[in-house]
Protein backbone atom coordinates (compact mmCIF):
# COMPACT_ATOMS: atom_id res chain seq x y z
CA UNK A 1 0.00 0.00 0.00
CA UNK A 2 1.31 3.45 -0.73
CA UNK A 3 1.27 6.01 1.97
CA UNK A 4 -1.75 7.70 0.50
CA UNK A 5 -3.60 4.41 0.50
CA UNK A 6 -2.70 3.99 4.15
CA UNK A 7 -4.17 7.40 4.81
CA UNK A 8 -7.41 6.37 3.12
CA UNK A 9 -7.41 3.12 5.05
CA UNK A 10 -7.40 5.09 8.26
CA UNK A 11 -10.65 6.66 7.13
CA UNK A 12 -12.64 3.46 6.64
CA UNK A 13 -15.91 3.39 8.59
CA UNK A 14 -14.60 0.83 11.08
CA UNK A 15 -11.44 2.74 11.79
CA UNK A 16 -13.33 6.02 12.05
CA UNK A 17 -15.75 4.43 14.46
CA UNK A 18 -12.86 3.10 16.51
CA UNK A 19 -11.23 6.50 16.57
CA UNK A 20 -14.40 8.22 17.75
CA UNK A 21 -15.37 5.48 20.18
CA UNK A 22 -11.84 5.27 21.51
CA UNK A 23 -11.62 8.99 22.19
CA UNK A 24 -15.02 9.02 23.91
CA UNK A 25 -14.28 5.97 26.05
CA UNK A 26 -10.78 7.12 26.84
CA UNK A 27 -11.87 10.62 27.82
CA UNK A 28 -14.56 9.35 30.16
CA UNK A 29 -12.27 6.84 31.81
CA UNK A 30 -9.41 9.30 32.09
CA UNK A 31 -11.69 11.89 33.66
CA UNK A 32 -12.63 9.64 36.56
CA UNK A 33 -10.19 10.08 39.43
CA UNK A 34 -8.77 6.67 40.10
CA UNK A 35 -8.65 5.37 36.54
CA UNK A 36 -5.46 6.20 34.73
CA UNK A 37 -4.82 6.17 31.01
CA UNK A 38 -2.73 3.02 31.39
CA UNK A 39 -5.57 1.26 33.10
CA UNK A 40 -7.99 2.33 30.40
CA UNK A 41 -5.76 0.84 27.74
CA UNK A 42 -5.10 -2.34 29.73
CA UNK A 43 -8.73 -2.96 30.39
CA UNK A 44 -9.98 -2.33 26.87
CA UNK A 45 -7.19 -4.20 25.06
CA UNK A 46 -8.91 -7.61 25.01
CA UNK A 47 -11.77 -6.10 23.03
CA UNK A 48 -9.38 -5.47 20.19
CA UNK A 49 -8.10 -9.00 19.78
CA UNK A 50 -10.76 -9.84 17.24
CA UNK A 51 -9.83 -6.91 15.03
CA UNK A 52 -7.13 -6.45 12.43
CA UNK A 53 -3.87 -5.15 13.94
CA UNK A 54 -4.09 -1.65 12.47
CA UNK A 55 -7.68 -1.19 13.60
CA UNK A 56 -6.76 -2.46 17.04
CA UNK A 57 -3.93 0.02 17.26
CA UNK A 58 -6.10 2.92 16.16
CA UNK A 59 -8.64 1.99 18.82
CA UNK A 60 -6.03 1.70 21.56
CA UNK A 61 -4.21 4.84 20.48
CA UNK A 62 -7.50 6.77 20.49
CA UNK A 63 -8.32 5.48 23.97
CA UNK A 64 -4.87 6.42 25.23
CA UNK A 65 -4.91 9.95 23.88
CA UNK A 66 -8.50 10.47 25.06
CA UNK A 67 -7.62 9.26 28.54
CA UNK A 68 -4.60 11.54 28.84
CA UNK A 69 -6.78 14.46 27.78
CA UNK A 70 -9.62 13.38 30.08
CA UNK A 71 -7.34 13.66 33.07
CA UNK A 72 -7.73 17.43 32.88
CA UNK A 73 -11.43 17.28 33.77
CA UNK A 74 -10.97 16.09 37.32
CA UNK A 75 -7.80 18.15 37.60
CA UNK A 76 -9.67 21.36 36.80
CA UNK A 77 -12.99 20.60 38.44
CA UNK A 78 -12.00 18.59 41.51
CA UNK A 79 -8.31 19.40 41.94
CA UNK A 80 -7.47 15.74 41.46
CA UNK A 81 -5.37 14.85 38.44
CA UNK A 82 -6.98 11.99 36.54
CA UNK A 83 -3.52 10.79 35.57
CA UNK A 84 -0.06 11.75 36.89
CA UNK A 85 0.53 13.79 33.74
CA UNK A 86 -2.28 16.16 34.73
CA UNK A 87 -0.72 17.18 38.04
CA UNK A 88 0.55 20.46 36.62
CA UNK A 89 -2.93 21.19 35.28
CA UNK A 90 -4.25 21.43 38.83
CA UNK A 91 -1.92 24.32 39.63
CA UNK A 92 -3.89 26.78 37.54
CA UNK A 93 -6.90 24.78 36.41
CA UNK A 94 -8.53 24.48 39.81
CA UNK A 95 -8.01 28.13 40.80
CA UNK A 96 -9.60 29.13 37.49
CA UNK A 97 -12.55 26.87 38.21
CA UNK A 98 -12.94 28.24 41.70
CA UNK A 99 -13.25 31.78 40.44
CA UNK A 100 -15.90 30.77 37.95
CA UNK A 101 -13.80 30.26 34.84
CA UNK A 102 -14.02 26.49 34.83
CA UNK A 103 -15.64 26.38 31.39
CA UNK A 104 -12.89 28.55 29.97
CA UNK A 105 -10.28 26.34 31.59
CA UNK A 106 -11.82 23.21 30.10
CA UNK A 107 -12.03 24.66 26.60
CA UNK A 108 -8.50 25.97 26.79
CA UNK A 109 -7.29 22.57 28.02
CA UNK A 110 -9.07 20.98 25.08
CA UNK A 111 -7.43 23.27 22.51
CA UNK A 112 -4.03 22.79 24.10
CA UNK A 113 -4.38 19.03 24.25
CA UNK A 114 -5.38 18.84 20.61
CA UNK A 115 -2.47 21.02 19.54
CA UNK A 116 0.01 19.11 21.66
CA UNK A 117 -1.33 15.79 20.44
CA UNK A 118 -0.99 16.92 16.83
CA UNK A 119 2.61 18.00 17.36
CA UNK A 120 3.41 14.65 18.95
CA UNK A 121 1.63 12.71 16.22
CA UNK A 122 3.38 14.71 13.48
CA UNK A 123 6.70 14.13 15.18
CA UNK A 124 5.92 10.44 15.10
CA UNK A 125 4.90 10.50 11.46
CA UNK A 126 7.76 12.58 10.11
CA UNK A 127 10.71 12.26 12.45
CA UNK A 128 10.42 8.92 14.19
CA UNK A 129 13.76 7.29 13.25
CA UNK A 130 16.08 10.18 14.17
CA UNK A 131 14.10 11.03 17.28
CA UNK A 132 14.30 7.43 18.46
CA UNK A 133 18.04 7.82 18.74
CA UNK A 134 17.40 10.49 21.35
CA UNK A 135 15.73 7.85 23.46
CA UNK A 136 18.84 5.73 23.42
CA UNK A 137 21.18 8.59 24.25
CA UNK A 138 19.63 8.88 27.68
CA UNK A 139 21.37 6.58 30.08
CA UNK A 140 20.99 6.04 33.81
CA UNK A 141 22.83 9.26 34.66
CA UNK A 142 20.60 11.36 32.48
CA UNK A 143 17.51 9.83 34.05
CA UNK A 144 18.90 10.61 37.49
CA UNK A 145 19.52 14.27 36.69
CA UNK A 146 16.16 14.50 34.93
CA UNK A 147 14.47 13.27 38.10
CA UNK A 148 16.43 15.83 40.11
CA UNK A 149 15.29 18.53 37.68
CA UNK A 150 11.69 17.42 38.07
CA UNK A 151 11.96 17.54 41.83
CA UNK A 152 13.58 20.96 41.99
CA UNK A 153 10.97 22.25 39.57
CA UNK A 154 8.03 21.04 41.58
CA UNK A 155 9.59 22.26 44.82
CA UNK A 156 10.14 25.66 43.29
CA UNK A 157 6.65 25.83 41.85
CA UNK A 158 4.73 25.01 44.98
CA UNK A 159 2.67 27.60 46.80
CA UNK A 160 4.53 27.67 50.04
CA UNK A 161 8.16 28.26 50.61
CA UNK A 162 10.84 26.49 48.61
CA UNK A 163 11.99 24.76 51.77
CA UNK A 164 8.58 23.23 52.43
CA UNK A 165 8.39 22.20 48.79
CA UNK A 166 11.72 20.43 49.14
CA UNK A 167 10.55 18.73 52.31
CA UNK A 168 7.43 17.64 50.45
CA UNK A 169 9.63 16.13 47.72
CA UNK A 170 11.74 14.42 50.36
CA UNK A 171 8.64 12.93 52.00
CA UNK A 172 7.59 11.63 48.62
CA UNK A 173 11.03 10.13 48.08
CA UNK A 174 10.88 8.45 51.48
CA UNK A 175 7.51 6.98 50.57
CA UNK A 176 8.90 5.71 47.28
CA UNK A 177 11.61 3.78 49.13
CA UNK A 178 9.09 1.49 50.76
CA UNK A 179 9.20 -1.82 48.95
CA UNK A 180 11.89 -3.93 47.36
CA UNK A 181 15.19 -2.40 46.41
CA UNK A 182 16.04 -2.66 42.73
CA UNK A 183 19.70 -3.28 43.42
CA UNK A 184 20.12 -5.87 46.12
CA UNK A 185 16.53 -7.01 46.29
CA UNK A 186 16.15 -6.21 50.00
CA UNK A 187 12.67 -5.52 51.32
CA UNK A 188 12.81 -2.02 52.77
CA UNK A 189 10.47 -0.52 55.39
CA UNK A 190 7.83 -3.14 54.65
CA UNK A 191 7.17 -4.30 58.24
CA UNK A 192 6.93 -7.81 56.83
CA UNK A 193 3.70 -6.99 55.05
CA UNK A 194 3.17 -8.52 51.60
CA UNK A 195 1.10 -5.47 50.71
CA UNK A 196 4.04 -3.13 51.06
CA UNK A 197 6.49 -5.51 49.42
CA UNK A 198 5.63 -4.16 46.01
CA UNK A 199 6.00 -0.62 47.22
CA UNK A 200 3.40 2.10 47.42
CA UNK A 201 1.76 2.40 44.04
CA UNK A 202 1.90 5.82 42.41
CA UNK A 203 -1.82 5.87 41.64
CA UNK A 204 -2.63 5.07 45.27
CA UNK A 205 -0.46 8.02 46.31
CA UNK A 206 -1.97 10.24 43.61
CA UNK A 207 -5.57 9.57 44.55
CA UNK A 208 -4.88 9.65 48.26
CA UNK A 209 -2.81 12.81 48.42
CA UNK A 210 -4.89 14.85 45.98
CA UNK A 211 -8.42 13.56 46.21
CA UNK A 212 -8.97 12.81 49.90
CA UNK A 213 -7.95 16.28 51.15
CA UNK A 214 -10.34 17.80 48.58
CA UNK A 215 -13.07 15.54 49.91
CA UNK A 216 -12.28 16.38 53.51
CA UNK A 217 -12.55 20.09 52.81
CA UNK A 218 -15.60 19.60 50.64
CA UNK A 219 -17.74 18.38 53.51
CA UNK A 220 -16.45 20.98 55.91
CA UNK A 221 -18.42 23.93 54.60
CA UNK A 222 -21.80 24.45 52.98
CA UNK A 223 -20.59 26.90 50.31
CA UNK A 224 -20.69 25.69 46.74
CA UNK A 225 -17.70 23.79 45.43
CA UNK A 226 -17.14 25.96 42.38
CA UNK A 227 -18.44 29.41 41.76
CA UNK A 228 -20.74 29.81 38.81
CA UNK A 229 -20.06 33.27 37.42
CA UNK A 230 -23.23 34.82 36.14
CA UNK A 231 -25.27 33.09 33.49
CA UNK A 232 -24.11 29.92 31.81
CA UNK A 233 -22.11 30.97 28.81
CA UNK A 234 -21.36 28.96 25.72
CA UNK A 235 -18.12 27.13 25.28
CA UNK A 236 -16.20 30.39 25.41
CA UNK A 237 -14.41 29.04 22.41
CA UNK A 238 -13.41 32.39 20.98
CA UNK A 239 -12.05 33.53 24.31
CA UNK A 240 -10.07 30.33 24.71
CA UNK A 241 -8.82 30.50 21.14
CA UNK A 242 -7.56 34.05 21.59
CA UNK A 243 -5.83 33.04 24.82
CA UNK A 244 -4.23 30.13 23.00
CA UNK A 245 -3.11 32.40 20.17
CA UNK A 246 -1.66 34.87 22.68
CA UNK A 247 0.25 32.00 24.24
CA UNK A 248 1.35 30.44 20.96
CA UNK A 249 5.04 30.34 21.78
CA UNK A 250 4.18 28.64 25.07
CA UNK A 251 1.94 26.23 23.19
CA UNK A 252 4.58 25.28 20.67
CA UNK A 253 7.43 25.05 23.17
CA UNK A 254 5.43 22.91 25.58
CA UNK A 255 4.33 20.58 22.81
CA UNK A 256 7.91 20.06 21.72
CA UNK A 257 9.01 19.45 25.31
CA UNK A 258 6.23 16.89 25.66
CA UNK A 259 7.18 15.12 22.43
CA UNK A 260 10.86 14.92 23.32
CA UNK A 261 10.37 13.75 26.89
CA UNK A 262 7.70 11.33 25.78
CA UNK A 263 10.40 9.67 23.71
CA UNK A 264 12.33 8.74 26.83
CA UNK A 265 11.16 5.34 27.98
CA UNK A 266 9.75 5.42 31.47
CA UNK A 267 10.23 9.17 31.92
CA UNK A 268 6.52 9.81 31.84
CA UNK A 269 3.95 12.52 31.48
CA UNK A 270 4.42 13.96 34.93
CA UNK A 271 7.95 15.14 34.23
CA UNK A 272 7.12 16.48 30.78
CA UNK A 273 4.15 18.57 31.84
CA UNK A 274 6.07 19.83 34.85
CA UNK A 275 9.07 20.91 32.81
CA UNK A 276 6.81 22.57 30.25
CA UNK A 277 4.97 24.36 33.06
CA UNK A 278 8.17 25.51 34.69
CA UNK A 279 9.51 26.80 31.42
CA UNK A 280 6.25 28.60 30.64
CA UNK A 281 6.35 30.29 34.01
CA UNK A 282 9.93 31.36 33.61
CA UNK A 283 9.45 32.68 30.08
CA UNK A 284 6.19 34.47 30.81
CA UNK A 285 7.60 37.47 32.59
CA UNK A 286 4.86 37.25 35.18
CA UNK A 287 5.80 34.23 37.26
CA UNK A 288 3.78 35.43 40.20
CA UNK A 289 0.51 34.89 38.34
CA UNK A 290 1.19 31.21 37.84
CA UNK A 291 -0.50 29.00 40.39
CA UNK A 292 -3.35 31.45 40.83
CA UNK A 293 -5.33 30.73 37.69
CA UNK A 294 -3.05 31.80 34.86
CA UNK A 295 -4.24 30.33 31.53
CA UNK A 296 -0.65 29.89 30.37
CA UNK A 297 -0.23 27.19 32.98
CA UNK A 298 -3.02 25.11 31.50
CA UNK A 299 -1.69 25.65 27.98
CA UNK A 300 1.74 24.39 29.00
CA UNK A 301 0.64 21.38 30.99
CA UNK A 302 -2.07 20.09 28.69
CA UNK A 303 -0.22 20.48 25.41
CA UNK A 304 2.84 18.77 26.88
CA UNK A 305 0.98 15.79 28.24
CA UNK A 306 -0.87 15.04 25.03
CA UNK A 307 2.30 15.46 23.00
CA UNK A 308 3.67 12.57 25.02
CA UNK A 309 1.25 10.21 23.32
CA UNK A 310 2.85 10.70 19.93
CA UNK A 311 6.32 11.00 21.39
CA UNK A 312 5.95 7.79 23.36
CA UNK A 313 5.10 5.86 20.22
CA UNK A 314 8.39 6.83 18.63
CA UNK A 315 10.64 4.38 20.48
CA UNK A 316 7.74 1.92 20.67
CA UNK A 317 7.37 1.63 16.92
CA UNK A 318 10.95 2.30 15.91
CA UNK A 319 12.84 0.25 18.49
CA UNK A 320 10.25 -2.03 19.98
CA UNK A 321 10.91 -0.39 23.34
CA UNK A 322 7.81 1.09 24.94
CA UNK A 323 7.94 4.81 25.69
CA UNK A 324 5.29 4.65 28.42
CA UNK A 325 3.51 1.84 30.29
CA UNK A 326 0.48 2.19 28.02
CA UNK A 327 2.76 1.70 25.03
CA UNK A 328 4.00 -1.52 26.61
CA UNK A 329 0.46 -2.80 26.69
CA UNK A 330 -0.13 -1.80 23.08
CA UNK A 331 3.10 -3.54 22.08
CA UNK A 332 1.93 -6.62 23.92
CA UNK A 333 -1.36 -6.48 22.06
CA UNK A 334 0.55 -6.30 18.78
CA UNK A 335 2.56 -9.35 19.74
CA UNK A 336 -0.61 -11.26 20.45
CA UNK A 337 -1.79 -10.26 17.00
CA UNK A 338 1.33 -11.88 15.65
CA UNK A 339 2.98 -8.62 14.57
CA UNK A 340 6.73 -8.65 15.04
CA UNK A 341 7.49 -5.48 16.94
CA UNK A 342 11.07 -4.39 16.87
CA UNK A 343 13.41 -2.37 14.74
CA UNK A 344 11.96 -3.75 11.55
CA UNK A 345 8.37 -2.83 12.23
CA UNK A 346 8.52 0.24 10.02
CA UNK A 347 10.00 -1.64 7.10
CA UNK A 348 8.18 -4.96 7.38
CA UNK A 349 4.77 -3.75 8.42
CA UNK A 350 4.78 -0.22 7.13
CA UNK A 351 1.13 -0.26 6.11
CA UNK A 352 -0.01 -1.12 9.64
CA UNK A 353 2.25 1.54 11.09
CA UNK A 354 1.27 4.29 8.67
CA UNK A 355 -2.43 3.52 8.92
CA UNK A 356 -2.08 3.70 12.67
CA UNK A 357 -0.23 7.01 12.62
CA UNK A 358 -2.86 8.60 10.41
CA UNK A 359 -5.52 7.15 12.66
CA UNK A 360 -3.81 8.73 15.66
CA UNK A 361 -3.76 12.10 13.93
CA UNK A 362 -7.43 11.72 13.17
CA UNK A 363 -8.29 10.71 16.73
CA UNK A 364 -6.41 13.75 18.01
CA UNK A 365 -8.39 16.04 15.72
CA UNK A 366 -11.61 14.39 16.82
CA UNK A 367 -10.74 15.24 20.41
CA UNK A 368 -11.69 18.81 19.63
CA UNK A 369 -15.45 18.42 19.05
CA UNK A 370 -15.78 15.37 21.29
CA UNK A 371 -13.85 16.97 24.12
CA UNK A 372 -15.82 20.21 23.96
CA UNK A 373 -19.12 18.37 24.23
CA UNK A 374 -17.99 16.00 26.97
CA UNK A 375 -16.36 18.86 28.82
CA UNK A 376 -19.62 20.74 28.76
CA UNK A 377 -21.46 17.81 30.33
CA UNK A 378 -18.78 17.41 32.94
CA UNK A 379 -18.84 21.08 33.84
CA UNK A 380 -22.62 21.28 33.98
CA UNK A 381 -22.87 18.24 36.20
CA UNK A 382 -20.22 19.35 38.66
CA UNK A 383 -21.81 22.78 38.89
CA UNK A 384 -25.36 21.53 39.21
CA UNK A 385 -24.82 18.62 41.53
CA UNK A 386 -25.21 19.49 45.21
CA UNK A 387 -22.42 18.66 47.60
CA UNK A 388 -24.42 15.92 49.28
CA UNK A 389 -24.23 13.99 46.01
CA UNK A 390 -20.87 15.23 44.75
CA UNK A 391 -18.97 14.22 47.87
CA UNK A 392 -20.20 10.63 47.99
CA UNK A 393 -19.74 10.29 44.23
CA UNK A 394 -16.11 11.33 44.51
CA UNK A 395 -15.63 9.03 47.50
CA UNK A 396 -17.13 6.12 45.58
CA UNK A 397 -14.85 6.80 42.62
CA UNK A 398 -11.76 6.88 44.76
CA UNK A 399 -12.63 3.65 46.52
CA UNK A 400 -13.53 1.72 43.41
CA UNK A 401 -10.72 3.25 41.38
CA UNK A 402 -8.06 2.30 43.90
CA UNK A 403 -9.53 -1.15 44.35
CA UNK A 404 -9.62 -1.71 40.60
CA UNK A 405 -5.84 -1.37 40.40
CA UNK A 406 -4.86 -4.69 41.89
CA UNK A 407 -8.00 -5.89 43.66
CA UNK A 408 -6.40 -5.08 46.98
CA UNK A 409 -8.37 -3.65 49.89
CA UNK A 410 -5.06 -3.01 51.59
CA UNK A 411 -4.25 -0.49 48.89
CA UNK A 412 -7.53 1.32 49.48
CA UNK A 413 -6.62 1.64 53.17
CA UNK A 414 -3.20 2.95 52.13
CA UNK A 415 -4.90 5.48 49.93
CA UNK A 416 -7.09 6.67 52.79
CA UNK A 417 -4.17 6.85 55.19
CA UNK A 418 -2.06 8.82 52.75
CA UNK A 419 -5.05 11.06 52.15
CA UNK A 420 -5.42 11.99 55.78
CA UNK A 421 -1.67 12.52 55.95
CA UNK A 422 -1.89 14.72 52.88
CA UNK A 423 -4.57 16.85 54.46
CA UNK A 424 -2.53 17.29 57.63
CA UNK A 425 0.54 18.23 55.60
CA UNK A 426 -1.42 20.76 53.58
CA UNK A 427 -2.34 22.44 56.87
CA UNK A 428 1.37 22.92 57.35
CA UNK A 429 1.65 24.46 53.88
CA UNK A 430 3.19 21.37 52.29
CA UNK A 431 1.15 20.89 49.10
CA UNK A 432 0.49 17.44 47.61
CA UNK A 433 2.22 17.95 44.24
CA UNK A 434 5.83 17.72 45.51
CA UNK A 435 4.99 14.64 47.55
CA UNK A 436 3.38 12.83 44.63
CA UNK A 437 6.22 13.81 42.30
CA UNK A 438 8.61 12.44 44.90
CA UNK A 439 6.80 9.12 44.79
CA UNK A 440 6.85 9.13 40.97
CA UNK A 441 10.44 10.22 40.56
CA UNK A 442 11.94 8.38 43.53
CA UNK A 443 12.43 5.07 41.73
CA UNK A 444 13.74 6.82 38.61
CA UNK A 445 16.18 8.87 40.65
CA UNK A 446 17.36 5.95 42.76
CA UNK A 447 17.78 3.49 39.92
CA UNK A 448 19.53 6.05 37.76
CA UNK A 449 21.85 6.94 40.61
CA UNK A 450 22.79 3.41 41.60
CA UNK A 451 23.11 2.18 38.03
CA UNK A 452 25.29 5.16 37.13
CA UNK A 453 27.38 4.52 40.22
CA UNK A 454 27.89 0.88 39.29
CA UNK A 455 28.82 1.70 35.71
CA UNK A 456 31.05 4.56 36.76
CA UNK A 457 32.89 2.34 39.20
CA UNK A 458 33.30 -0.40 36.64
CA UNK A 459 34.71 1.95 34.04
CA UNK A 460 36.81 3.62 36.70
CA UNK A 461 35.51 7.11 36.02
CA UNK A 462 32.92 7.94 38.63
CA UNK A 463 33.05 11.76 38.51
CA UNK A 464 33.13 11.72 34.72
CA UNK A 465 30.09 9.50 34.71
CA UNK A 466 28.01 11.90 36.76
CA UNK A 467 29.35 15.22 35.57
CA UNK A 468 31.05 14.58 32.29
CA UNK A 469 28.28 13.79 29.84
CA UNK A 470 26.87 16.59 27.68
CA UNK A 471 23.17 15.84 28.11
CA UNK A 472 23.58 15.49 31.88
CA UNK A 473 25.37 18.82 32.08
CA UNK A 474 22.53 20.51 30.22
CA UNK A 475 20.00 19.04 32.64
CA UNK A 476 22.10 20.00 35.67
CA UNK A 477 22.31 23.54 34.34
CA UNK A 478 18.54 23.63 33.97
CA UNK A 479 18.06 22.40 37.53
CA UNK A 480 20.44 25.02 38.92
CA UNK A 481 18.61 27.64 36.92
CA UNK A 482 15.32 26.57 38.45
CA UNK A 483 16.75 26.74 41.94
CA UNK A 484 18.54 30.05 41.66
CA UNK A 485 16.77 31.97 38.91
CA UNK A 486 13.96 33.39 41.09
CA UNK A 487 16.44 34.73 43.64
CA UNK A 488 18.79 36.05 40.95
CA UNK A 489 15.96 37.62 38.99
CA UNK A 490 14.78 39.40 42.10
CA UNK A 491 18.26 40.79 42.70
CA UNK A 492 18.54 42.02 39.10
CA UNK A 493 15.14 43.65 39.33
CA UNK A 494 16.12 45.45 42.52
CA UNK A 495 19.33 46.61 40.97
CA UNK A 496 17.51 47.89 37.95
CA UNK A 497 14.92 49.77 39.97
CA UNK A 498 17.66 51.24 42.14
CA UNK A 499 19.44 52.69 39.09
Amino acid sequence: MTIFENFLHALTPLNLLLAVGGVVAGTIVGALPGLTATMAVAVLTPLTFTMAPDSAMIGLGAIYTGAIYGGCYSAILVNTPGTPSAIATTFDGFPMAKRGDGDLALTLANLSSVFGGLVGALGLLLLAPPLAQVALAFGPVEYFWLAVLGLTLVAGLSHGSLLKGLIGCAIGLLISMVGTAVVGGDPRYTFGSPLLLGGINIVVALIGLFCIPVLIDLVASPSAHLRLSGEVRGYRLREAASLAWAGKSNLLRSSVIGTVIGILPAAGGAIASLIAYGEARRASGKPGDFGKGEPGGIIASESANNAIVGGGFIPTLTLGIPGTPADAIILGALLVHGVRTGPNLFSDQSSIVYTFMFGLLLATLLMLPIGLVLGRYAYKSIIAVPKTVLAPAIALMTVIGTYALHNSIGEVWLMLGLGVLGWVLSRADVPPAPIVLGVVLGPIAEQGFVQAWLIGQATGDLPGMFFGRPISLAIIAAALLVLFYPALAQRWRRRRSAQ
Binding site: A395, I400, W413
Partner: protein, 152 residues
Amino acid sequence: MIGKAHTVDLVLGATVLALCIWMGVEARDFSPFASLFPTFITVTCGGFTVVLLTLAAMGRFTPPPAAMGSTIRRVVLCVVLAGWLALLPVAGFILASIPGFIGVGVAAKYDPWSPRQWLLFCLLAVASVVALSLFFAYALQVPLEQGSLFRG
Protein backbone atom coordinates in the same frame (compact mmCIF):
# COMPACT_ATOMS: atom_id res chain seq x y z
CA MET B 1 11.51 40.25 61.77
CA ILE B 2 11.30 37.81 64.63
CA GLY B 3 7.72 36.69 64.93
CA LYS B 4 5.94 33.86 66.61
CA ALA B 5 7.03 30.28 66.19
CA HIS B 6 4.05 28.42 64.86
CA THR B 7 3.18 25.07 66.33
CA VAL B 8 2.30 23.62 62.97
CA ASP B 9 5.76 24.18 61.56
CA LEU B 10 7.47 22.89 64.69
CA VAL B 11 5.38 19.74 64.71
CA LEU B 12 6.03 19.23 60.99
CA GLY B 13 9.74 19.63 61.43
CA ALA B 14 9.97 17.41 64.47
CA THR B 15 7.87 14.60 63.00
CA VAL B 16 9.67 14.50 59.68
CA LEU B 17 13.03 14.67 61.44
CA ALA B 18 12.07 11.72 63.62
CA LEU B 19 10.96 9.80 60.53
CA CYS B 20 14.25 10.51 58.77
CA ILE B 21 16.26 9.37 61.76
CA TRP B 22 14.31 6.15 62.06
CA MET B 23 14.53 5.37 58.34
CA GLY B 24 18.19 6.25 58.30
CA VAL B 25 18.96 3.88 61.14
CA GLU B 26 16.93 1.11 59.52
CA ALA B 27 18.88 1.61 56.32
CA ARG B 28 22.05 0.39 58.02
CA ASP B 29 20.74 -3.16 57.85
CA PHE B 30 20.32 -3.11 54.10
CA SER B 31 22.78 -4.44 51.58
CA PRO B 32 25.28 -1.79 50.44
CA PHE B 33 23.53 -0.62 47.31
CA ALA B 34 20.06 -0.84 48.74
CA SER B 35 21.07 1.50 51.54
CA LEU B 36 22.77 4.12 49.37
CA PHE B 37 19.74 6.12 48.37
CA PRO B 38 17.84 5.90 51.69
CA THR B 39 20.89 7.10 53.56
CA PHE B 40 21.36 10.01 51.20
CA ILE B 41 17.72 11.07 51.28
CA THR B 42 17.28 10.71 55.03
CA VAL B 43 20.39 12.77 55.67
CA THR B 44 19.36 15.48 53.21
CA CYS B 45 15.77 15.54 54.43
CA GLY B 46 17.01 15.63 58.01
CA GLY B 47 19.07 18.64 57.04
CA PHE B 48 16.02 20.35 55.54
CA THR B 49 13.98 19.76 58.68
CA VAL B 50 16.73 21.18 60.89
CA VAL B 51 16.71 24.32 58.75
CA LEU B 52 12.92 24.35 58.94
CA LEU B 53 12.91 24.06 62.72
CA THR B 54 15.47 26.81 63.06
CA LEU B 55 13.58 29.17 60.78
CA ALA B 56 10.29 28.30 62.44
CA ALA B 57 11.72 28.92 65.88
CA MET B 58 12.91 32.29 64.67
CA GLY B 59 9.37 33.03 63.54
CA ARG B 60 10.27 33.33 59.86
CA PHE B 61 7.16 31.58 58.59
CA THR B 62 3.82 33.23 58.03
CA PRO B 63 1.02 31.20 59.50
CA PRO B 64 -0.91 29.06 57.06
CA PRO B 65 -4.57 30.08 56.87
CA ALA B 66 -6.59 28.38 59.57
CA ALA B 67 -8.77 25.51 58.45
CA MET B 68 -12.18 26.97 57.84
CA GLY B 69 -15.30 25.01 58.34
CA SER B 70 -16.40 22.31 60.62
CA THR B 71 -13.80 20.01 62.15
CA ILE B 72 -16.45 17.64 63.34
CA ARG B 73 -17.65 16.98 59.84
CA ARG B 74 -14.12 16.30 58.72
CA VAL B 75 -13.70 13.73 61.43
CA VAL B 76 -17.08 12.20 60.67
CA LEU B 77 -16.07 11.85 57.04
CA CYS B 78 -12.87 10.01 57.95
CA VAL B 79 -14.75 7.71 60.31
CA VAL B 80 -17.36 6.97 57.66
CA LEU B 81 -14.68 6.18 55.08
CA ALA B 82 -12.84 3.92 57.52
CA GLY B 83 -16.06 2.14 58.38
CA TRP B 84 -16.80 1.70 54.70
CA LEU B 85 -13.44 0.07 54.08
CA ALA B 86 -13.78 -2.11 57.15
CA LEU B 87 -17.16 -3.32 55.92
CA LEU B 88 -15.90 -4.15 52.42
CA PRO B 89 -14.33 -7.55 53.06
CA VAL B 90 -17.30 -8.61 55.11
CA ALA B 91 -20.35 -7.39 53.23
CA GLY B 92 -18.98 -7.22 49.73
CA PHE B 93 -18.57 -4.20 47.56
CA ILE B 94 -22.15 -3.23 46.83
CA LEU B 95 -23.55 -3.73 50.33
CA ALA B 96 -20.68 -1.85 51.94
CA SER B 97 -20.68 1.03 49.50
CA ILE B 98 -24.36 1.89 49.84
CA PRO B 99 -24.13 2.87 53.53
CA GLY B 100 -20.74 4.40 52.75
CA PHE B 101 -22.24 6.58 50.05
CA ILE B 102 -25.11 7.61 52.30
CA GLY B 103 -22.72 8.31 55.16
CA VAL B 104 -20.55 10.64 53.12
CA GLY B 105 -23.63 12.40 51.83
CA VAL B 106 -24.83 12.95 55.39
CA ALA B 107 -21.44 14.36 56.32
CA ALA B 108 -21.91 16.94 53.57
CA LYS B 109 -25.54 17.68 54.34
CA TYR B 110 -26.26 21.15 55.68
CA ASP B 111 -29.97 21.57 55.07
CA PRO B 112 -32.69 19.61 56.80
CA TRP B 113 -34.33 17.04 54.53
CA SER B 114 -37.90 15.98 54.22
CA PRO B 115 -38.59 12.24 54.33
CA ARG B 116 -39.09 12.38 50.57
CA GLN B 117 -35.63 13.88 50.07
CA TRP B 118 -34.16 11.18 52.30
CA LEU B 119 -35.86 8.50 50.25
CA LEU B 120 -34.67 10.00 46.98
CA PHE B 121 -31.16 10.23 48.28
CA CYS B 122 -31.08 6.63 49.43
CA LEU B 123 -32.43 5.48 46.10
CA LEU B 124 -29.77 7.53 44.36
CA ALA B 125 -27.15 5.90 46.56
CA VAL B 126 -28.32 2.43 45.64
CA ALA B 127 -28.58 3.28 41.94
CA SER B 128 -25.14 4.90 41.75
CA VAL B 129 -23.38 2.14 43.61
CA VAL B 130 -25.04 -0.63 41.64
CA ALA B 131 -24.52 1.09 38.28
CA LEU B 132 -20.88 1.83 38.90
CA SER B 133 -20.22 -1.65 40.27
CA LEU B 134 -21.80 -3.26 37.24
CA PHE B 135 -19.81 -1.01 34.94
CA PHE B 136 -16.56 -2.02 36.61
CA ALA B 137 -17.40 -5.69 36.96
CA TYR B 138 -18.66 -6.25 33.43
CA ALA B 139 -17.49 -3.47 31.12
CA LEU B 140 -14.05 -3.14 32.66
CA GLN B 141 -13.78 -6.76 33.81
CA VAL B 142 -12.63 -5.83 37.31
CA PRO B 143 -13.97 -8.43 39.73
CA LEU B 144 -15.25 -6.72 42.86
CA GLU B 145 -15.03 -7.94 46.41
CA GLN B 146 -17.82 -10.39 47.20
CA GLY B 147 -17.66 -10.30 50.95
CA SER B 148 -17.01 -13.11 53.38
CA LEU B 149 -20.68 -13.28 54.32
CA PHE B 150 -21.49 -14.49 50.86
CA ARG B 151 -18.67 -16.77 50.02
CA GLY B 152 -19.22 -20.47 50.51
